[in-house]
């Protein structure tokens, strides 16, 4: 149990998916402009990530490893993720037209969200058990959402500031992310590490 809590806290704060492992930068830069879309994207990613890690774990250990096919890991995982995203997209389209409108083109982009594939690959490297992997996937999504929303909050404020032309858009977002990364480094003492 203690281990699960440690994984939960460290994945969100200390080894944050975005700020430490550089996963999910594309949606991070693209969707963090408004709080609403950040929240929607964050929830979608958390959902897909948790499912993806669970299903990938099962297929890896029950199928690939058993039959010595681990070299198919990347192809199989990405297929799982692509299918999951397709299903989630159909689901959202049917049950929440508003959410579908606001997330727009970003949904299919979740497939190529390196965060999801990255977290799935990491859980294999870290040799997590099934329960640990599910927690890892869930907290990875939460960590991503957290950073996305903090960034959205900051960017909404920055909309009112006077920014030099050259820095508008991506450069400022990247520099802000850098400062955020510096701040999150302060959390590294939390794990007793």
């Amino acid at each position: 149990m203690e281990n699960l809590i440690l994984i939960f806290i460290s994945t969100i704060l200390i080894n944050n998916v975005v700020l430490t492992y550089f996963l999910g930068i594309c949606p991070f830069l693209g969707v963090s402009g408004k709080m609403e879309s950040a929240l929607g994207m964050g929830m979608a990613v958390t959902f897909v990530m948790t499912l993806a890690t669970s299903i990938s774990w099962l297929i890896y250990y029950l199928v690939l490893e058993r039959f010595g096919l681990t070299f198919l890991e990347y192809v199989v995982f990405i297929l799982i993720i692509a299918s999951l995203v397709q299903i989630v997209e159909m689901f959202i389209k049917k049950y929440s037209k508003n959410l579908y409108q606001s997330l727009g083109i970003y949904l299919p982009l979740i497939t190529s969200n390196c965060a999801i594939l990255g977290v799935a690959l990491f859980m294999i490297v870290k040799e997590y058990s099934f329960l640990e992997s599910v927690v890892f996937g869930f907290s990875g999504g939460l960590g991503f959402s957290l950073v996305l929303m903090v960034m959205a909050g900051i960017r909404e404020e920055l909309d009112f500031a006077d920014i030099p032309e050259t820095f508008k858009g991506a450069p400022l977002t990247l520099i802000t992310a850098g400062i955020l990364a510096l701040i999150f480094m302060g959390f590294s003492g939390l794990g007793g590490g």
Partner: protein, 196 residues
């Protein structure tokens, strides 16, 4: 030989600094110049062969599954590169670590396959791949060199700054990656504005 298709990836439509694609590996592996180059070369290989296959089979792939098909093709070539590195260059494989499989979701590759190779002829697609790939590579090299220089006083392992230079360790850490990239993109923006 359409020169334009080859050159656009090198500057005007630079994948990193202009299109802002492929951020994840850009930030993660550019701790040193050599790692940047290694990743760049791996991407050139995957991009070239992926665009090759996609442009060749574009007529027989049904529209609804094209993304899934492209992704499987890309994942296959990435796995080949990964196996190759583990066998022939184990040290680089260790340095690049989990970021090699992440080439699969490098938006540049899927992006070019979908936006270009699926709609253009084979020869142009190959030029596009080379241009974008080499552009990506030099982009990584520049970022990696700056971070290595300021964070360790070296480039490509060669000590360039005087020994009493106290390295800015933050450059090798994630925060430094974001900061340097942010300034580089701003620089590219400024250069483009001066041109006009």
């Amino acid at each position: 030989m359409k020169k334009k298709e080859l050159l656009k990836g090198l500057w005007s439509q630079h994948p990193i600094y202009r299109q802002l694609l492929g951020m994840c590996p850009t930030l993660a592996v550019t701790t040193t110049a050599i790692n940047g180059i290694a990743m760049g070369l791996a991407v050139i290989f995957v991009l070239f062969f992926s665009e090759f296959v996609v442009a060749s089979i574009k007529r027989i792939v049904p529209h609804q599954v094209r993304i899934a098909v492209y992704t499987v093709i890309i994942a296959t070539f990435v796995t080949i590169v990964d196996i190759f590195l583990k066998a022939q260059f184990p040290q680089i494989s260790k340095n690049l670590g989990p970021y090699v499989p992440l080439i699969i979701v490098n938006c540049i590759i899927l992006g070019r396959c979908e936006a270009f190779a699926s709609k253009n002829k084979l020869s142009n697609s190959l030029l596009d791949a080379l241009g974008m790939g080499v552009g990506f590579c030099w982009g990584l090299f520049v970022l990696g060199s700056i971070r290595e220089l300021l964070g360790a006083g070296e480039i490509l392992g060669q000590r360039l700054l005087p020994l009493n230079f106290d390295p800015l360790v933050v450059m090798i850490l994630p925060a430094g990656a974001f900061l340097v990239l942010g300034f580089l993109v701003a620089l590219m923006n400024q250069v483009e504005r001066w041109k006009i």
